[in-house]
């Protein structure tokens, strides 16, 4: 904890909620990659994404928080579950993991170490002051004024992915 964290005796409730949801998300993320049952992994993924959406809401990102829950939990995880059901999903560590778990753990630990070092070195003393909620109307106004071209490009991308997925999965 940085030295500026002492803001009197008042508990910062957003920080408490972010800590709780962050812990839930972190533990469930570990469960996603360690689970021996693919369906359990998908359900833990729901918990991770829902907790992340809750963090977005606490951080004042109203539209993104609900979009996260709607798109990720409502669509992407359902799609992944369909994928699990349409492919024969085996159970067990040896059926789901390959032989590189040690190397993978060392790589991810190194990534985490480097990231944490850089983050705390650069932003260790910075604080988030939550005093405003970004309304959906603000996001919409910004999206349709300054970012209209990326918005159109990403919608074309989504359409292309949709058509491509249908073409790929179609039985000939």
């Amino acid at each position: 904890m940085d030295p500026e964290a002492t803001e009197g005796a008042v508990v910062s409730w957003p920080a408490v909620f972010v800590a709780i949801f962050g812990a839930v998300a972190a533990l469930s993320a570990v469960a996603v990659v360690l689970s021996r049952n693919v369906v359990h992994a998908a359900l833990y993924l729901v918990v991770v994404l829902g907790a992340a959406g809750a963090i977005f809401l606490v951080l004042g990102a109203e539209f993104v928080g609900w979009t996260q829950i709607l798109i990720y939990v409502g669509a992407i995880v359902v799609l992944l579950l369909f994928g699990l059901m349409l492919t024969a999903a085996p159970i067990g560590t040896h059926a789901l993991d390959n032989q590189q778990r040690g190397v993978a753990f060392m790589t991810s630990a190194a990534v985490f170490g480097v990231f944490t070092f850089i983050i705390w070195r650069s932003f260790g003393s910075q604080r988030i002051h939550l005093n405003q909620v970004v309304r959906t109307s603000d996001v919409g106004r910004s999206l349709f004024s300054g970012y209209i071209l990326p918005f159109e490009v990403v919608s074309v991308l989504l359409l292309a992915a949709l058509v491509g997925a249908i073409v790929l999965a179609k039985k000939d």
Binding site: D2, V18, V33, I55, Y72, L96, I128, L130, V139
Partner: protein, 101 residues
């Protein structure tokens, strides 16, 4: 609230996703780990958006783009997985080695 703790959460989720991509051999689980990594980036973007107190909400707009790209990616990815399963009767990524010499 400290910005660095939220960023550390994002870094942790990203590292867990890296582990999942490297250690899992079921292709659908690899896709799930990729979703974890994309989501950690979203956490970073939202945290920076709250830190900058940007009235244009640029971080949130980028997070929305990433969510869209993730949806497209998982759609095409699952179509490829289904196709591989139909042709090879397996979706273990270490057994799909047609391009390996």
């Amino acid at each position: 609230m400290s910005l660095a703790w939220v960023l550390t959460l994002g870094a942790f989720l990203f590292s867990v996703g890296v582990y999942g991509v490297l250690a899992r051999k079921n292709a659908v689980l690899v896709l799930m780990s990729i979703e974890l990594m994309l989501n950690s980036v979203n956490i970073n973007l939202i945290a920076f958006n709250a830190w900058f107190r940007d009235s244009a909400a640029v971080g949130q707009i980028f997070a929305l783009f990433i969510i869209t790209v993730a949806a497209a990616e998982v759609g095409v990815g699952l179509a490829i997985v289904l196709l591989v399963f139909r042709n090879r009767k397996t979706i273990n990524v270490d057994e799909v080695d047609l391009l390996k010499w």
